[in-house]
Symmetry: C3
């Protein structure tokens, strides 16, 4: 009974986190599309690309079925995010912190899912870290390519490196034989907290200076 409940709860919890993350990622795409005055269709596509682009790239590269084709929830969730932005447009700025937290939660979960799925394909742990990072961060890059901007995550506070860090924690836990639950929790927490601290303390990676820099 207990085990069943555990599994049921964890699955429900996972689904809720997955929904929250997808929603937050889609919102981020739709808001940037709205700043470019895209129409509803364009905003939906940019939102969807942000939310499911990373996972799609991962699945295509791993040559496994693309995840969102087998569960309508992802495209439905993106549609919900579009309606949300249309209705609450003027209030979005006040929800800034909430969406930031949701986005960080999504980043953590997507990283874990990407790592786990890659390992299930029999790949090395370093490929899994790359794929986990791609699952979490590539959607934002595709979003910025679609709205014709330089990718934000290549210049702002640490984002994708949080996924890499989480992936390293996953690898260490996994290699030292920790139970799966602990490994996943530590990995996700690392991604989430790294992202939180990075934004709170404006922690950026060093920038490559142009070659003709005179200083």
């Amino acid at each position: 009974m207990d085990t069943f409940l555990d599994i049921f709860n964890s699955i429900t919890l996972l689904k809720i986190i997955d929904f929250i993350g997808t929603f937050a990622f889609a919102i981020s795409g739709i808001r940037l599309a709205s700043a470019k005055q895209f129409d509803w269709f364009g905003a939906y596509v940019v939102g969807a690309a942000t939310a499911i682009g990373g996972g799609t790239l991962r699945d295509v590269m791993l040559d496994v079925p693309v995840f969102w084709m087998h569960d309508g929830i992802y495209l439905f969730c993106t549609g919900l995010a579009l309606v949300w932005v249309i209705i609450f447009r003027r209030h979005l700025v006040h929800m800034h912190n909430t969406f930031f937290i949701f986005d960080a939660i999504g980043l953590a979960l997507f990283t874990i899912v990407g790592i786990q799925k890659t390992l299930d394909c029999g790949m090395s742990i370093w490929v899994a870290i790359v794929m986990g990072t791609m699952t979490g961060a590539a959607g934002g890059v595709i979003r910025d390519v679609l709205i014709n901007e330089e990718p934000l995550i290549f210049r702002k506070e640490i984002y994708a490196m949080a996924c890499v860090l989480g992936g390293v924690v996953f690898a260490i836990c996994d290699l030292s034989g920790m139970p799966a639950g602990v490994t996943l929790t530590l990995c996700g927490t690392t991604v989430f907290l790294t992202r939180l601290f990075a934004v709170k303390y404006k922690i950026c990676l060093p920038t490559l200076k142009p070659e003709d820099d005179k200083k």
Copy 2:
């Protein structure tokens, strides 16, 4: 005899429509590349990406063989389009309406092909609608990414939504058990006419307004 002739004619007709659509899509890519003063190779690549990009994305996501690798006609047709633009450059503006009609025909056919191919893979009808739309409209997005512009179809008259509408008509016909021929014809006609009316009456989707809009 009659059936054989029917099939023969329909296949020939399909091939002709396919060629016309590919040609029109390639022309649209090559013309935009020429506005950016790309060289012949660049124009060819942008033309090819416009013409076969959507179908390539579809085939890669569905994990089926990429269609243009098994029939040289598509890359040949793109080459023909390049020669056409080089020779008739100054007259292209007078062929505007013809190319618009060809483009709409291509959009309709590509949508049908995308839907049918996705259903043949055993996918749900909503995945087929997404894939049909991608087959018709993603090439134009790839084109605009390559020429470093914001995707036109995210802002101008209804384009991809014509594919979605055609897909919905397909689904309704299919679910109500209509013969395949009727389903395909109604779907294609819907895409074609929607696109025609959208441009004639400048019908656009609502635009997402920026969040700080004061009105």
Copy 3:
């Protein structure tokens, strides 16, 4: 003994050329990212996309395992290139000719690898030429999309056409029954020399003129 040594040497040589090419491609991506003041992570991603993007696209389209997931050397080499740019930033301009030669060597090898891999999949020779060109030149296009610039190879001295030319030489050698070693050498030499002469004599393809050109 002789044969063994031959194979060993050729394999070692191939691996060295592969490393040099990957390094040069990654450097080109990282330098352009540094001009945009991307951070280290952004520069790494752009470098990796330049170095392995073409081959990844090829493998995904051919539906074969993506090459860099099975050999860590490619991502390691990109990391080395990043360190190199960080340390030798101010001296890179003096290494210009060296990197140009390395880049041309990489272009030649990547073209050969792409052609050979495509033929091994049972594809036609013209598909192999397209895929060889994609292996050599698509990484640079992905790089320019990521840094939000118009693809350089669509406007500057002959680059991708060197791969096409090499591919045609490959096809002619192959069809006339030459030994594999000769075919590969002639193909690679063609790509390398074409690229060298194109830059030395500033040979460009004709440009598509805008349609409203008055002249």
